[in-house]
Symmetry: C2
Subunit: 157 residues, 2 copies
Amino acid sequence: MAAKTKNPVQAAAPAPAAATLPPYRLTEQVGHLLRRAHQRESAIFQDNMGDAATPTQFAALAMLTERGPLSQNHLGRLIAMDPATIQGVVQRLGERKLVDRVPDPVDKRRFLVRLTRRGVEAYEAMEDRARAVTRETLSPLEPDEQAQFIALLKRLG
Amino acid sequence: MAAKTKNPVQAAAPAPAAATLPPYRLTEQVGHLLRRAHQRESAIFQDNMGDAATPTQFAALAMLTERGPLSQNHLGRLIAMDPATIQGVVQRLGERKLVDRVPDPVDKRRFLVRLTRRGVEAYEAMEDRARAVTRETLSPLEPDEQAQFIALLKRLG
DNA sequence: CTCCTGTTGTTCGTATACGAACGAGTGTGG
DNA sequence: CCACACTCGTTCGTATACGAACAACAGGAG
């Protein structure tokens, strides 16, 4: 159901053109809904992962697994994080020995960030749970709706 | 693992139990996509609003406009914010004189948070721009897709 | 009334998130 | 070779975001 519907039901004040705008309802706005959906996903993530990693930290580990060692800023760009943000994330992963930093031989400004043995193991132990997080997050939707939602969501990036 | 590795190119049928799981791609996960979409919306919001208010602050002003004076925690619940978070938001709105706190006559624990004159004016000056933010955020989608996206997003709340 | 439970708002600690400014290094144009 | 623009990673300041713990108060059971 989505077309040029006439919808006589909600016509509270069909007034002339420039007249009454529909009221602004915060709970109808994309921004608010996106914020809440993201909030919910984070909560589900934490329920499933406990202290293993935050969503952001897991994203870094996943990208390093996918792409191998990367410079810090490059890693940040791949997962959409500010240099200032990725700095803290890498630092905390380093403190927990999940990640390593070696100077780049060619470019003295850079460090190559790479997974340690512990980092690889930690990631492998989390991947299944990460899949479960995605499933649980999308569980209010039917399978075809899930695919549609993901497709639309990608186009807002 | 025995059996014949038939390897049907891309059969619609999901592989049997122990077979290869599809690789985990961070950029396909709802969590990551939600985070990025929310990020983009925040950026659009800031472009349109400048220093007038943050998305969170605007949400508080909008809800106070919709519902009138509210206790701090109640306001927080309506816009999905922790008591610890709404505390800071109300405080900063108070420092900018957009909001006011009067003790609740019936319940000595509570304060009623309400818009000041300046708060009302500030909100009114922002509402149109907030509508523009929603439009711009959803602009990569066709109108019917926008409606569908919003409908699906609501069900993930 | 007293005790108990739950709510209200606060504070602390931690983790994103990003703008702005910075020193150090790189690469290009001249 | 030098000057200049750009990049890399860092730091500071500010604003969410939330768990945990807290004192003060509210409302009901006994």
